[in-house]
């Protein structure tokens, strides 16, 4: 349930080029790709014989300053979430296939509509108060309050009666029924397979925030300077914008904590390699671009794991009216399926991924990252994986009528008019973005499709795609998914984030067909 800031773009179709590695894909603007995790084997984090060692301090680096909203209900950016993860934990965990499994709370349900949750007893907040289901109810009511200024209402909305509570028609959320201090029944407005994964799963400490008006919570000291949670480490001290000191929470409910302290510090990307080399930092999420420099260091192990984000090339096939959630107009330029498929064949995705993600990414063929339990195996799903095949691309283009009729070296469209593909990519401070986008247009030019690249300032990029700006025709995008693998939020016909619209059906067909 990571929050992704900026740049998780959307997407559309055939070409799914993807990079995998990110810790939940929480990249923000300038990274644009995943990170790999690394640790170095200093004394504190592992002992030689593999037994966990007691004591010690871990220095954990992050590469962007946190905003300081240290509460799961209020944070905005992935960096803050990284900090929160160190001192708070979710009631529900996810296993390696990202299926939910009990943590503090275990549950039973018969119909996926009514859930019964039981809490572990004796779980303590860092201020010594005991965690009860009331803290969870308090979280729901805070998030559903009309004064709430964070973005998490979608996670509470599906509870029966949340809407009425938010509109002030009810004093409580009718779908939430407290049975006892450790037991609660939650009724959703309808049965869904993913009700549980979508549900808000962090309690909010009523003992300290109970007296704070909802509108002032995000600015309160309990969020900004002395946050508390139920995790294995508690926050000792925060130096805003640069470091956070955590120490072991002795009353942690789930076993003994090994480390004495964690010091989290912000390290600028330009210093990461040096800091690792000198042992100034023990563990950090690495940008793929630093990988080749870090790999030769002897005191550093790079650990990679599959991420939850992917990048793609999208085609604008129509205009979307968000109010009515329908497609109002079809754009004719890229309606030819053969054209789109040929453009996919023309791209050497493996080469591209190796060049721009430094080997820390894989080519993917479907919009559900491989970490998810419902990710299909390529072979099983009988996917066409669109291996790089420029000859086939050329044949398909010839067959579809895209031939060079005026001998300028580039193909014209079937009517004999000049055909130029406009490709857009977002521009941030990251200098590799332009070259990686340029590389894609070059692949297209190699099969005779004239292509133009436009780099668009990142904030504007969004708006232009969302608002169906005519200058966006094909575009580069990416999404990071959370633990809920349901891709309908991105791909269903009535969703705004399915930026291209019109052909949702066609696209889904294509995707299925792939």
């Amino acid at each position: 349930m990571k929050k992704n800031k900026s740049l998780l773009w959307l997407f559309a179709m055939i070409l799914v080029v993807s990079a995998f590695l990110a810790a939940c894909g929480g990249d923000d603007g300038d990274s644009g790709s995943g990170d790999s995790k690394k640790e170095d084997g200093t004394t504190e984090d592992k002992a030689a014989d593999g037994e966990p060692q007691k004591g010690g301090t871990l220095v954990y680096g992050i590469d962007a300053p946190p905003e300081g909203l240290y509460n799961p209900a209020f944070y905005n950016i992935a960096t803050d979430a990284e900090v929160i993860d160190l001192f708070d934990e979710s009631l529900i965990n996810y296993n390696e296939n990202l299926e939910p499994e009990p943590n503090v709370a275990s549950w039973t349900t018969e119909d996926n509509k009514v859930f019964n949750f039981k809490f572990e007893e004796g779980v303590k907040w860092h201020n010594g108060e005991e965690l009860t289901v009331n803290d969870w109810v308090f979280a729901f009511e805070t998030i559903a309050s009309p004064d709430y200024d964070g973005p998490r209402y979608t996670n509470v909305q599906t509870i029966e009666g949340a809407e009425a509570f938010r509109n002030g028609e009810a004093d409580t959320i009718s779908g939430v029924e407290v049975v006892g201090d450790y037991e609660i029944n939650i009724t959703f407005d309808e049965a869904r397979v993913n009700n549980l994964t979508n549900l808000w799963s962090y309690p909010l400490p009523e003992s300290v925030l109970g007296d704070v008006p909802v509108a002032e919570m995000s600015a309160s000291e309990w969020v900004r300077s002395t946050p508390i949670g139920i995790g294995p480490f508690k926050v000792d001290k925060i130096v805003p914008g640069e470091s956070v000191e955590f120490s072991r929470f002795d009353e942690y409910w789930n076993g003994e904590v090994n480390l004495d302290k964690i010091v989290l510090r912000v390290i600028d990307n330009s210093s990461v390699v040096g800091a690792l080399q000198n042992g100034d930092v023990d563990m950090i999420s690495l940008q793929p671009v630093s990988g080749p420099e870090v790999e030769p260091l002897e005191n550093v192990d790079i650990v990679t794991y599959p991420g939850l984000s992917y990048y793609y090339v999208g085609f604008k096939l129509g205009k979307f009216d968000n109010a009515t959630q329908t497609i109002t107009e079809e754009l004719p330029k890229y309606q030819s399926k053969e054209l789109r498929q040929a453009m996919m064949y023309a791209i050497n995705r493996q080469e591209w991924v190796d060049a721009f993600f430094f080997g820390y990414a894989n080519v993917v063929n479907k919009p559900v990252p491989t970490s998810h339990w419902n990710a299909a195996d390529d072979a099983e799903a009988d996917l066409n994986t669109y291996e790089y095949d420029p000859e086939k691309a050329k044949e398909m283009l010839d067959a579809a009528g895209y031939v060079d009729t005026n001998d300028d070296g580039f193909r014209e469209d079937p009517n004999g008019d000049e055909f130029v593909v406009k490709f857009s990519h977002y521009a941030t401070g990251n200098p590799t973005f332009e070259s990686r986008a340029q590389a894609i247009t070059q692949y297209w030019e190699e099969v005779g499709i004239k292509s133009e690249l436009e780099m668009v300032e990142v904030n504007l990029y969004y708006e232009m795609i969302e608002k169906d700006d005519p200058s966006i025709e094909t575009f580069f995008g990416g999404w990071g998914t959370g633990s809920d693998p349901d891709p309908s939020g991105l791909w269903k016909a009535d969703q705004l984030w399915n930026y291209r619209a019109t052909t949702i059906l066609k696209q889904i067909n294509c995707l299925m067909m792939l």
């Binding site: 349930m1 929050k3 992704n4 800031k5 900026s6 740049l7 998780l8 773009w9 959307l10 603007g29 300053p65 905003e67 300081g68 909203l69 209020f74 905005n76 200024d149 973005p151 998490r152 979608t154 996670n155 979508n198 995000s218 600015a219 900004r224 001290k237 130096v239 805003p240 914008g241 640069e242 470091s243 956070v244 000191e245 010091v263 510090r265 912000v266 390290i267 600028d268 330009s270 210093s271 040096g274 800091a275 000198n278 100034d280 968000n322 300032e457 990142v458 904030n459 504007l460 969004y462 708006e463 999404w479 990071g480 998914t481 959370g482 809920d484 939020g489 991105l490 969703q495 984030w497």
Partner: protein, 321 residues
């Protein structure tokens, strides 16, 4: 003097109003707004964004938004940062001590270095030493600060281990103890040296030229004729006259002290105003962005005023009325 000061202060008002309009317009002209950078299809829905836009008043016509903002601003309410969700004044106050500390340290380094180099160059113009100083100064001026900062970190922090590579203080040190202040000083030195040592050129050359010019003046000849030692002539008679023009720089430095160093602060992950300013621009945090710009505009104007007044004080020959 008082009359002059009041006149200048009154003159600032229309200037600040105009600046506020320009700043506001430019900020709003930037593509996107504080919500456009955030999309997470799983946690965020278009309704939330629409609702927040309405709440933040982004749907009002621009003049209405401007008057809402300026009314609050005049009453001392700078608004709430859309990014940090706390009052802008708090967030600025949180960063100012760091920036001020860095600014004062770097200015001190600039002054000391420029003073020494300027005195030497002025006394021995057109010698090898003078040319070397000028050469070094201009090279330093030409090196972009981010290059210098990265290089300095690599060399002094990672190779020699003399300085920490980032941050403003070691979090493990108890606040308020002597160690704490020492740690602060230790952290600020490297960025201060990068900032301070790189910008000595204008001071040095200004001082040098002034010393050369003054050394040809009549009063110097008179002093020499009297038999005053050369050393005294330079260190007392000439220097006092040569420092006067430097006072003008002080006014500009005043705003720069608070303004911080955007790039250097970011590379050293030194949480100050410069870093805050950069982030408020990229995240379209209008209240923070506008409060900072207004603050810096005001400080620049005030700095100029102070420089002019100081001018009158140091050199009674200059009359302000």
């Amino acid at each position: 003097m008082l009359k002059y000061t009041i006149r200048r202060l009154l003159g600032m008002i229309p200037m600040l109003i105009l600046i506020s309009i320009v700043v506001f317009t430019l900020a709003k002209l930037m593509p996107g707004d504080s919500l456009s950078g955030e999309i997470d299809p799983l946690n965020t829905n278009p309704e939330y964004i629409a609702e927040m836009r309405e709440k933040l008043g982004y749907n009002e016509p621009l003049p209405v938004q401007y008057f809402d903002w300026i009314t609050g601003f005049l009453q001392g309410d700078f608004g709430k940062s859309t990014r940090f969700k706390v009052p802008v004044a708090d967030i600025i106050m949180e960063k100012i001590p760091n920036t001020l500390f860095l600014g004062v340290m770097s200015l001190l380094i600039t002054y000391i270095l420029a003073f020494l180099m300027g005195m030497y160059s002025g006394r021995k113009p057109y010698t090898l030493g003078d040319n070397a100083i000028a050469g070094i100064n201009y090279i330093m001026l030409a090196i972009p600060s981010f290059v210098a900062a990265v290089f300095a970190i690599y060399f002094f922090s990672f190779h020699l281990n003399w300085f920490p590579f980032g941050g403003s203080v070691d979090i493990l040190v108890e606040e308020g103890t002597l160690d704490y202040w020492f740690s602060k000083l230790h952290h600020v030195l490297l960025p201060a040296i990068v900032l301070g040592a790189m910008s000595t050129a204008s001071y040095t050359q200004f001082l040098r030229n002034d010393i050369i010019e003054n050394s040809r003046k009549d009063f110097v000849r008179t002093a020499r004729a009297k038999g005053t030692p050369i050393k005294k002539i330079y260190n007392v008679h000439i220097l006092r006259n040569s420092i006067i023009p430097l006072v003008t720089f002080l006014g500009f430095d005043f705003a720069a002290l608070i303004g911080g160093a955007i790039i250097t602060e970011t590379i050293f992950t030194y949480p100050g105003i410069g870093q805050l300013f950069l982030e408020s621009v990229t995240s379209r945090d209008y209240p923070t962005l506008m409060a900072l710009t207004m603050l810096l505009s005001f400080l620049t104007l005030a700095g100029n005023l102070i420089a002019d007044i100081l001018y009158g004080i140091v050199d009674p020959r200059i009359r302000l009325d």
